[in-house]
Each structure stands twice: as structure tokens, then as C-alpha cells.
């Protein structure tokens, strides 16, 4: 039990590290790979939680995570990157050092927010809620600071990863039917994003979101 909890805490720490790596990563391809690594870590932590607590439905949820977040979504994203020929660096709105500092502040905020909730939860993994929330906030920060639409989408998907991790850590995952539904939404969402990218590319000849800042109140 103790060993499992320790192992899960270790994986959680790695997740936080990956979240920071994503925040500082400028290349889209590497970003997709980091997203896949996040999926691997999520699968591992879900499997450990499942074996440590005997919650059998978590095995299914780990399998779902493995298929969707390690194979299918990164594959789709890599294909998109290839088809759209997105090479080169993503321009950032704020320089990396500042972004990292803001990220550290967000982690502290997340731990403070998580404290009362995780005290109430009765799971062996409750200590990791702070990291889960930090991943959500860091993904959110990534969405704000990137200029490319694809990077924003990866931020969006990794935010969902953070929420998934939060659900596993405080309630041993959502009911199966809900997890399937969320998985379906994420998958459909990625397809919709894909179609959408081609539309943006067709109209603007680039995926830079500064083209998408014309509509405002006059």
C-alpha cells in the first residue's frame, strides 16, 4: 500500500515535470511527444491505483487512456502536423523565463486550492490532487501564451489530462459510462479541431492566431 502510494506520488511528480516541459517547449512535434508521455504516465498511475486499491474499473480506464492518449490522439496530431507542414518554432507571447515563474506561482495556488479538498477525500492517492490541479493550470497557461492554434489544442487536451488525473486521485476515477463519454468527446473534438485547422489554413494561409483577433467591440 505504502509502496504503491509512493510510486504514484513519484509518477505525479514526473507529470508535473512534463507539464513544465510542455510549457517551455517551442517545437510542435516535441510538444505532441510530450503529450504522449503524459498519456503514458497517466496510464501507469491509473494501473498502479487499480492494483493498489482493487478498483477493477480503473483497469478499463487505464486501457482507454493508453489507447486514446498514447496512441490515437498523438497519431492524429502528428498526422496533422505533417499534413499542415508545421515545422519551426512556436512564437511565444511572453518569454520562457517569465512563463516558468508564473507557472511556479500557479503550482503554489493549485496546492493551496487542493488542500481542503484532498483532506476530505479518503483515497490513498489524495495527495496528488495538488499536482493534478497544477497540471490543469499549467495547461491553461500554455494555451494563453502560445500563438499557434495547434499548440493551443495540445494545451486543451493536456488540461483534460490534468482533470482526468484529478478524478483518479480523489475519487478513483469517474463512473465508466462518464469516462467513455468524455473519451468520445475528446476524440471527436480532436477530429473537429483537425477539420478546423484546414479551414483556417485555407482562409489565412497560416495557423497563427493573430489572424483571429479582428472581432471585437468597437
Amino acid at each position: 500500500m505504502i509502496v504503491t502510494a509512493q510510486a504514484i506520488n513519484f509518477i505525479a511528480a514526473l507529470l508535473l515535470l512534463v507539464a513544465f516541459a510542455m510549457l517551455s517547449q517551442r517545437r510542435i512535434r516535441a510538444l505532441v511527444n510530450l503529450f504522449a508521455v503524459q498519456g503514458v504516465l497517466l496510464t501507469a498511475s491509473t494501473l498502479l491505483t487499480a492494483s493498489g486499491t482493487g478498483q477493477t474499473h480503473l483497469y478499463y480506464s487505464a486501457a482507454l487512456t493508453l489507447i486514446l492518449k498514447v496512441f490515437v490522439l498523438p497519431l492524429i496530431l502528428h498526422r496533422l502536423v505533417r499534413r499542415l507542414q508545421l515545422t519551426g518554432d512556436v512564437e511565444m507571447l511572453i518569454n520562457t523565463a517569465t512563463t516558468m515563474l508564473v507557472g511556479i506561482v500557479l503550482v503554489i495556488v493549485a496546492f493551496n486550492l487542493a488542500l481542503p479538498i484532498s483532506e476530505f477525500a479518503g483515497t490513498i492517492t489524495r495527495g496528488t490532487l495538488g499536482i493534478a490541479l497544477a497540471c490543469v493550470l499549467l495547461a491553461f497557461l500554455m494555451m494563453i501564451t502560445r500563438r499557434k492554434a495547434v499548440a493551443q489544442v495540445i494545451g486543451f487536451l493536456s488540461m483534460e489530462n490534468g482533470l482526468f488525473f484529478a478524478a483518479t486521485s480523489i475519487t478513483y476515477g469517474m463512473p465508466m459510462v462518464v469516462e467513455l463519454g468524455i473519451g468520445l468527446d475528446v476524440l471527436v473534438g480532436t477530429f473537429v479541431f483537425g477539420v478546423f485547422f484546414f479551414r483556417i489554413r485555407e482562409t489565412f494561409d497560416s495557423l497563427d492566431i493573430h489572424h483571429l483577433e479582428r472581432l471585437r467591440e468597437r
Binding site: F156, G181, R214, L215
Partner: protein
């Protein structure tokens, strides 16, 4: 309940069928027929629920009571009339070359899928599935908002996607917290997230966790309701998409998102025993009403104008449900009904008006009433109704909300009254010049669909003059459930 199977099955299968055949010449009629059948199923379900009372179905996966069956009927009805309106509207768009065959297929298929997600969100008993359905609704409509592929429409769709996506991610965290509270209160497995179970055990839920959960749920679903300050996506999405989509976004999506908030409020009220949830809703509602009223005057686009008016009304309704109590809830439900009916009627008229003028710019639309009396008067009467003039139903609802506010929260009434006055001055002046004046509009190749406009407006008029006894009883029952 076989009615429920039909209600959800028809739009789902229809979406699949129209994905293949949606570009045929008769596809708009097929879309309307499917929506009509869905409406019939909704009517049958309503009759059944009125006679046998609240029911769960399919292993408690679905739950239908007086509150959601009323919204199911309203949703299916507006889905049907909008499909009728969309028939000539989309033909004109295709004849003008604004949409191709692929886009028509996408439009019809996604229209049915959107209807399905709305009905699923309303009838599901599982708070997690409610979230999944609302996210699905965003996904179904995001490609429709960018259907014309203009730079502005792509931007609107992107904003809609990102804002609603981030918003609804917060609602997911709220749902996780709700599940945490429920499982700590003794709920087991998948059943802990069923609304009926949560409602039965709401007294035992840990107040501090439910309070945090409700804040996340309110902000998350509130983004989709269009509550300030997260309302930015709404005017853009309404203005840049095809008009039938504007009509269903205003008439259906906002209502269903608010429905989700109200279901959560019932749980929060039971768990907290305080008025925190109501106070939060009142605050957000009031901010929304005031903010949107002052934006109304600055609009130059006819669809943006009425999108801001939708935001204002949703704020009003949220405020009403925030106050709570029998009269305010009754008024809130009535306001939801009449707002959806009136606003979709206005979008029908405004859509045809914009097509006739070839622009959505208010300054370039003149003299509608001379070229097409049905569209002109439809827009004028709809505007008078939405601005809350007697004898229309919106007046009755707003009157009840205002009198309740005066009695219970007198401090809020000046804000509401000023906002109403500002909105009236802003909208009426703009619409008057569009309807009357020297004509600048030309006739259309297809006859405009005037019938849905006037059917909606007549219902709103009747609801303002007199609410049939059994309908009033039904509203009262739903209002008492909300508490």
C-alpha cells in the same frame, strides 16, 4: 418508456442518414420532417409524464420530471420550427453560392446531432453524461458557426470553441468534486453521480466541497449560458454562423445550459442550507443584465444586436432563479419559454431581412415592411415582444420577476429597471429604422418562411394574456421542484 427511445433515436439516426444524403435537393424537407417527428415524440412523452408523474428509465440512466419534460417539449418544438425556417433559408444560401454540397450535408447532419445532444442533456439522470452532452453540443455547432469559412466566422468559431471548452472543463472539475462529495456520503460506484440519488442524499453531502463544486459548475455552465464576464463567444458565434444556428443557439443551447446550472443549484441548496448558490446566481445575473444592456446600443450588426439581447435575458432569468421561491421560479420558467420562442422568431425574421438586404449591417437594411410585410412586421412585433411590452408573455414574466425583486431584494430593482430602459431605447430605435423608411432590400427567390415567426409570436401573445390552467399547474409543479 418507448417515447424516450424515439425522442433520442430519431435525431441520432437522422444525423447519420443526413450525413450521407444531406446535400440532396429535398434534404431540408427531410430535416424538417425528422425534427417534426422528434417533436411528436416529445409531445407523447409529455402526455405520459403528466399522467404518470416523474419517472426514471433504462436502469435510472434517464430521468424525466415536470421540470425537464417542459424543456424537452420546448426544445423539440423550436428545433422543428427552426428546421422549417431553415428550408428556404439554406436554399437561398446555396443558390447564392455561399455554401456548397458538402457544407449542406454537414449542416443538416450536425443540426440533428445538436438536437440529440440537447435532448440527451435534458433527459439524462447522470451529471457526468450531462457534461458530455453539453460538450457534444459545442462540438456539433462549432463547425456550423464557421460554415461560411469567412475569416470572421472562423474567428468566431475558434473563440466559441476555446472559451466554451475552457469553461466546460471547469464544469468537469465541479462534477468530479460533486462525485467526491457523493461517494464520501455513502454513494456507491456509478450510481453516486445520478441526479436522483444525489437529490435524495443532498442533506448528507459535505457542504464545503459542494460549495466549491457549485462555483466551478456555475462558472463552467455559466459560460455556455452567456453569463458575464465569459459571454464573449456568444455575440460572435450568433452573428457569423447561419441564422438557423443563431436561432437554436439562442433558443435551445442557452436554456439547456441554464437547466444544468439549476439542477446543480437544487443540490447545492440542499447540501449547504444557505442561500450561497442563489446569491452567486443573482450576482452573475445582475452583472450580465447591466453589462449587456449597455453593449446593445453600440451594435451595428443585426444578429449581434439580438445576441446581446439574449445575453441580457439569460441574465434576467438567472437572476430570477437565484432569488428562488415559488413566484420567481414560475416567472423564470415562463421567461425561459417566451424568450426562446420570441428570440428564435426574431432570428427567423432577421435572417430573412439580412438575406434580402444582402448584409447584416443595420444601417444598410431599410424599409423591410414595404418589400415584405411578413418579415417586416414579424421583426417589429418580435422586437416589441422581446423588449417586454404588454400584452406579450415576456412582459408578464419580467413583471413577476421585478415585483418579486422589489419585495425581496429592493436594492437590485433600480439596476434591472435602468437596464430594461437602456435596452429598450437601444433596440427599438435600431429596429424601427430597419422596418420602416425607404426600402433598400430586394425580393428573394424562395418564399420566406413567415409561418414559424408568427406561430411563435402568437404563442408568446397568448402566454402573455392568459396561461391555460393545466400549463400553469405544470409550471407551478416544476417551480416547486426547483425550490
Amino acid at each position: 418508456m418507448s417515447e424516450l427511445a424515439f425522442l433520442l433515436g430519431i435525431p441520432l439516426l437522422g444525423a447519420a442518414a443526413l450525413a450521407f444524403r444531406g446535400s440532396q435537393y429535398r434534404a431540408p424537407e427531410m430535416n424538417a420532417i425528422l425534427s417534426g417527428l422528434t417533436f411528436l415524440a416529445a409531445c407523447a412523452l409529455t402526455v405520459r409524464i403528466i399522467s404518470i408523474g416523474p419517472r426514471t428509465a433504462m436502469n435510472e440512466l434517464f430521468f424525466v420530471d415536470a421540470f425537464n419534460v417542459f424543456l424537452v417539449t420546448l426544445t423539440a418544438f423550436i428545433g422543428f420550427t427552426t428546421a422549417l425556417f431553415g428550408t428556404p433559408y439554406m436554399r437561398v444560401e446555396r443558390d447564392r453560392g455561399k455554401v456548397g454540397a458538402g457544407a449542406m450535408r454537414l449542416y443538416h447532419s450536425m443540426y440533428q446531432l445538436f438536437t440529440f445532444t440537447m435532448l440527451l442533456a435534458l433527459t439524462t439522470n447522470n451529471m457526468g453524461i450531462l457534461w458530455v452532452a453539453l460538450e457534444g453540443a459545442t462540438l456539433a455547432t462549432v463547425l456550423l458557426v464557421s460554415l461560411y469559412r469567412t475569416p470572421a466566422s472562423l474567428e468566431a468559431a475558434w473563440k466559441y470553441f476555446i472559451l466554451c471548452g475552457v469553461g466546460i472543463a471547469q464544469a468537469l472539475f465541479g462534477t468530479i468534486l460533486l462525485y467526491l462529495a457523493a461517494s464520501r456520503a455513502g454513494g456507491t460506484g456509478g450510481e453516486a453521480l445520478l441526479w436522483t440519488h444525489l437529490n435524495a442524499a443532498k442533506g448528507q453531502l459535505e457542504p464545503s466541497v459542494v460549495a466549491i463544486a457549485f462555483v466551478f459548475l456555475l462558472v463552467g455552465y455559466g459560460t455556455k449560458v452567456g453569463l458575464a464576464p465569459l459571454h464573449n463567444w456568444l455575440p460572435d458565434a450568433h452573428a457569423e454562423g447561419p441564422t438557423p444556428i443563431s436561432a437554436v443557439l439562442s433558443g435551445l443551447l442557452l436554456n439547456v445550459a441554464l437547466y444544468a446550472v439549476i439542477r446543480c443549484k437544487v443540490l447545492a441548496d440542499g447540501a449547504l442550507g444557505t442561500h450561497l448558490a442563489g446569491n452567486l446566481m443573482m450576482g452573475f445575473g445582475l452583472l450580465t443584465v447591466v453589462l449587456s444592456a449597455f453593449f446593445l446600443g453600440r451594435q451595428t450588426d443585426i444578429k449581434r444586436l439580438f445576441a446581446y439581447s439574449s445575453i441580457e435575458h439569460m441574465g434576467f432569468i438567472t437572476f430570477a432563479f437565484g432569488m428562488g421561491g415559488a413566484i420567481a421560479n414560475f416567472a423564470g420558467l415562463l421567461h425561459m419559454t417566451v424568450h426562446s420562442l420570441t428570440k428564435s422568431a426574431i432570428f427567423f425574421a432577421a435572417g430573412h431581412a439580412a438575406q434580402k438586404a444582402g448584409t447584416q449591417n443595420i444601417d444598410d437594411i431599410r424599409g423591410l415592411v414595404h418589400m415584405s410585410p411578413a418579415v417586416g412586421w414579424g421583426l417589429m412585433i418580435g422586437t416589441l415582444a422581446i423588449l417586454g411590452l404588454p400584452p406579450f408573455g415576456v412582459f408578464a414574466a419580467e413583471f413577476m420577476i421585478l415585483t418579486t425583486a422589489m419585495r425581496e431584494h429592493a436594492w437590485a430593482t433600480p439596476f434591472l429597471l435602468v437596464a430594461l430602459a437602456v435596452a429598450f431605447a437601444a433596440v427599438f430605435g435600431k429596429v424601427q429604422t430597419m422596418v420602416f423608411g425607404d426600402p433598400s432590400v430586394r425580393p428573394l427567390p424562395h418564399r420566406p418562411a413567415a409561418l414559424p415567426v408568427f406561430v411563435h409570436l402568437v404563442i408568446v401573445l397568448i402566454l402573455g394574456l392568459y396561461i391555460p390552467a393545466h400549463l400553469a399547474a405544470w409550471y407551478r409543479e416544476a417551480a416547486s421542484m426547483i425550490g
